[in-house]
């Protein structure tokens, strides 16, 4: 930062913000930093005293009145926008029903719910992928998700694949949701109760509440039809119980979000030996016409400070 006090006597005259008319045609190179400092404060002080919320809204409306034709976007931008929504707010479920309702499936989900309800930090790999109408994958994003019951979530990731979004951290400490980095280096925080506004702004595709996996599983037996598909061997030769779930699941963030896109398929894989849900996969169709798959793969437990879920600034 320039020591700008020293030069007022030297360069006072070139500060044309204090002249009623006219101004300088050029300034000495050495004075430019000093002049920029003065202009910076001049702009801030004017802005501070010329501010009012009504005219601000009018300015924003005027911009959008003039911004009618959509720009020719690279598919990557649209995908990144959809990804951002996915990364922030999870996913939501539609009204599909499968025919059978087996007690085995209900019991497995309830046991997994009890485990996830423990006051423990659990790590998952959250993968969001998008395919276009030609069934070509246009984006794949992988993030590390840590959750603890009570709407405490932390996501850390780096864009990969077709779309690179840059480092992204997002989370919620139970009362405030926040996001830092990602496309456009966003830095936003808001009370959880108001996060529906963000969901609506981002296209109403998703629902933040479902990243609290304990709360998600807790709702399943009440809201959805559960069906055992069978036992399958996934990674590490481990046999898991495959359960499909379908049905209408209430939104967690109130009515501010518009109608979300539907999930066409939701599956869970539960380890019968430990009771832990090892994998959750949801297939959705986003509002921009992409097919989206959101998958959670359980990793392990970790021990985080309570402050880890709070916004880092």
């Amino acid at each position: 930062m320039t020591e700008n006090m020293d030069h007022i006597d030297d360069w006072s005259e070139i500060d044309d913000t204090l002249l009623d008319t006219g101004g300088a045609d050029s300034v000495p190179p050495a004075a430019k930093s000093w002049l920029a400092d003065q202009r910076y404060m001049h702009g801030l002080l004017r802005s501070m005293h010329l501010a009012d919320s009504e005219s601000r809204e009018a300015r924003i409306e005027a911009i959008f009145a003039g911004a009618k034709p959509a720009p020719a976007m690279r598919s990557g931008f649209v995908a990144a926008a959809a990804l951002l929504a996915c990364a922030i707010v999870g996913f939501i479920f539609p009204g599909y029903l499968l025919p059978s309702n087996l007690p085995e499936a209900q019991a497995a989900v309830m046991r997994a719910t009890k485990l996830l309800g423990e006051e423990v930090d659990r790590r998952f790999i959250l993968t969001v992928s998008l395919t276009n109408s030609e069934d070509r994958e246009v984006m794949r994003e992988e993030m590390e998700l840590t959750t603890r019951p009570g709407m405490r979530i932390l996501m850390v990731g780096q864009g990969v694949g077709v779309v690179r979004t840059g480092a992204l951290r997002a989370g919620c400490d139970g009362s405030e949701a926040w996001i830092l980095g990602g496309p456009f280096n966003m830095k936003r925080a808001m009370p959880l109760a108001q996060a529906a506004v963000l969901v609506a702004n981002l296209g109403s595709v998703l629902d933040l509440g479902y990243l609290d996996l304990h709360a998600l599983l807790e709702r399943l037996p009440k809201a959805l039809e559960l069906q055992t598909i069978g036992r399958e061997v996934l990674a590490a030769n481990h046999e898991l119980l495959h359960i499909s779930a379908a049905g209408a699941l209430p939104q967690t963030l109130g009515a501010a979000a518009k109608s979300p896109a539907g999930v066409s398929k939701l599956d869970l894989w539960v380890d019968e030996a430990t009771g832990m849900v090892m994998r959750i996969v949801a297939d959705t169709v986003t509002q921009v016409g992409f097919h989206s798959r959101v998958a959670f793969e359980y990793l392990d437990t970790v021990q985080l400070e309570a402050t880890a879920y709070k916004r880092p600034w």
């Binding site: 006090m5 430019k32 202009r39 004017r46 501070m48 720009p71 280096n185 981002l202």
Partner: protein, 178 residues
């Protein structure tokens, strides 16, 4: 998801910064409002060329700066204070630092500036209040306060410098060093 929804978030996040950036160099606040609108409309049309790995604020202020230079060429120095590419870049750097102050919104960042008013001398405070809050020109301030014209200009310039130094001390990078 549509790009317009995301663009609205960006407009809301950066409109005050762009407006302040322009108000620093334009005499007429209404002209500043016009250029703010124009800058975001250009940004909307050019969004396809924006490198998403870079922060959005400098990009849109860069557009505003180019519009400002064009405006000065057309309107002359009676409407637009001296600006060139180098000065605009220096100003942009200051505004980017300003965005790193504590708080989530531009108005919350301005709270840091409001807090800094306690650092001003009574003369600087009076001159700044009369100039920015009441919109008085330097001659009128001089008449009201019983100072000479040059003294009023110095109080305003020194007052700005005091405020800027105070703000600079509130930057996260500086706070970490202390």
């Amino acid at each position: 998801m549509d790009s317009r929804d995301l663009f609205e978030i960006l407009v809301r996040a950066h409109i005050d910064s762009v407006r302040s950036f322009l108000l620093g160099s334009l005499r007429d606040p209404l002209a500043a409002e016009d250029l703010v609108q124009e800058a975001f409309l250009v940004a909307w049309r050019k969004l396809d060329y924006y490198d998403r790995k870079m922060p959005f604020g400098p990009w849109v202020r860069g557009i505003a700066g180019k519009l400002l230079l064009n405006w000065r060429r057309k309107q002359g120095r009676s409407k637009v204070h001296f600006v060139d590419d180098e000065t605009l870049q220096l100003m942009d750097h200051r505004f980017e630092e300003f965005s790193s102050l504590a708080g989530d919104s531009f108005d919350e960042h301005l709270n840091a500036l409001r807090d800094c008013f306690t650092c001003l001398s009574p003369q600087q405070r009076s001159a700044i209040d009369l100039h920015y809050q009441h919109g008085l020109h330097c001659r009128e301030i001089a008449r009201r306060l019983g100072f000479g014209l040059e003294a009023v200009k110095k109080h305003l310039q020194r007052g700005r410098a005091v405020l800027q130094k105070c703000l600079a001390n509130k930057l996260p990078s500086v706070r970490e060093e202390l």
